[in-house]
Symmetry: C2
Subunit: 241 residues, 2 copies
Amino acid sequence: MRDQLHPEEIEPDGDDFLPGLAIDAVIFGFHQNQLKILLLEYRNTGLMALPGGFILTNENLNDAARRVLSERTGLSDIYLEQFYVFGDLNRFDPAPMRAIMAAKGFMPPNNHWLLRRFVSVGYYALVDFTKAVPIPDSLSDSCAWYDLANLPLLMQDHQFIVQKALDTLRTDLDRKLIGFNLLAETFTMADLQSLYETILDQKLHRSGFQRKMLSLGILERLDKHYSGGAHKAPFLYRFIK
Amino acid sequence: MRDQLHPEEIEPDGDDFLPGLAIDAVIFGFHQNQLKILLLEYRNTGLMALPGGFILTNENLNDAARRVLSERTGLSDIYLEQFYVFGDLNRFDPAPMRAIMAAKGFMPPNNHWLLRRFVSVGYYALVDFTKAVPIPDSLSDSCAWYDLANLPLLMQDHQFIVQKALDTLRTDLDRKLIGFNLLAETFTMADLQSLYETILDQKLHRSGFQRKMLSLGILERLDKHYSGGAHKAPFLYRFIK
DNA sequence: TCAAAAGTGTTAATAGTACACCCATGG
DNA sequence: CCATGGGTGTACTATTAACACTTTTGA
């Protein structure tokens, strides 16, 4: 359900927000050949959750998602995509949220708006790991990157949401030019291939990959990158805007 | 926003439903080589709209969509897919809904729940045209098929929703085995090709299409179909379950 | 026997896979 | 001068596209 509270969200009516509707964000980053996502931790409860938020009554849904993303990463202009709406009744379980609020010393009434049923719109986002600055929300104690391959136990159905986001990311990888949003401004072909291999969880052929990427006509070749390694220096590339 | 009202929906609080959340359904059918969708008409207002509905407080989101589909077509086990959530503020315009209710002799108070802002989950559905029995909802005067290529003016952003559904249908056509849900139980290869050509709005090569479909291994060849035409009788096919 | 439509075959073009080769680089 | 990684070349294969040929059907 939800995890991010501003002071006004503690109020029992939640009048500033659309009722019963939330956003859950699976924020992907890529670092040292590993896919990572941002998770929030509620220390006194042991609960971990996806970043999320609510929609202001005078705010577009997609803008609310961008706001959540920006609040958790400090970044704007993030690649963002809706991928599914989670609306099953069995998501409804007020216990974790009550525990989280209690751990913060707030005892909500039983009819508190945060303890009601929520339908959640899932978004996935792709950010430059080196640029993002994870920032906890008002109810969580930490916001940090976690290896997708080695996630801790997540509250509610957040594990399922992550899986669905990853599935969507994989099928979108061909059709959209997604890979580039996870890399720094310039990168080598090996960086790009490693990203693709990590997302798809399979090895790709080096020469074929190189020519396929170049044939797309979306890469600009820059100077060579001298890493200090004892081998031919690879070209750097940049995504043509 | 919304168009389908049960008696209990006329009540000003809408307590039986999740507040501010609706479903809009783009229901595709295929007949005489034309893609069609179901539309509702509100005669006294001149307004036309997509079928839609709300989510009961004790109902799964996807089940609500299935219910709406079933109520408008008389069919169950319909192919159904979420495709987008429409949550922009500029969708919010209570005038059409007020006009619709007024035309039915009901003057809603200004704070009536149906006149508030709605976020709408878009679903597209694929149904067998010959089996569906279009049924209006309690506020509309007709429910009928309309040529996608020649749609009337739709209320609010429903034209945009249809376009987005069609875009999704096209990109899904390869990845999922979608085509078959729009045809009768048995069909000729020409029927199937015509369906694909209509959805994609482009000509396909006959022999290539035939072999590609057969190579998928999902078609069962049945008896020949003698149409009375002065030409070779085509085989009928059925989708292997 | 003819025209129309259906099924299959043939070839060319294209894209994808696998592997090989040579080059640059720093130790 | 060697090991390593990088860029490109080439052969092979699978898929797709384009067109041709043959068969069936009812008039």
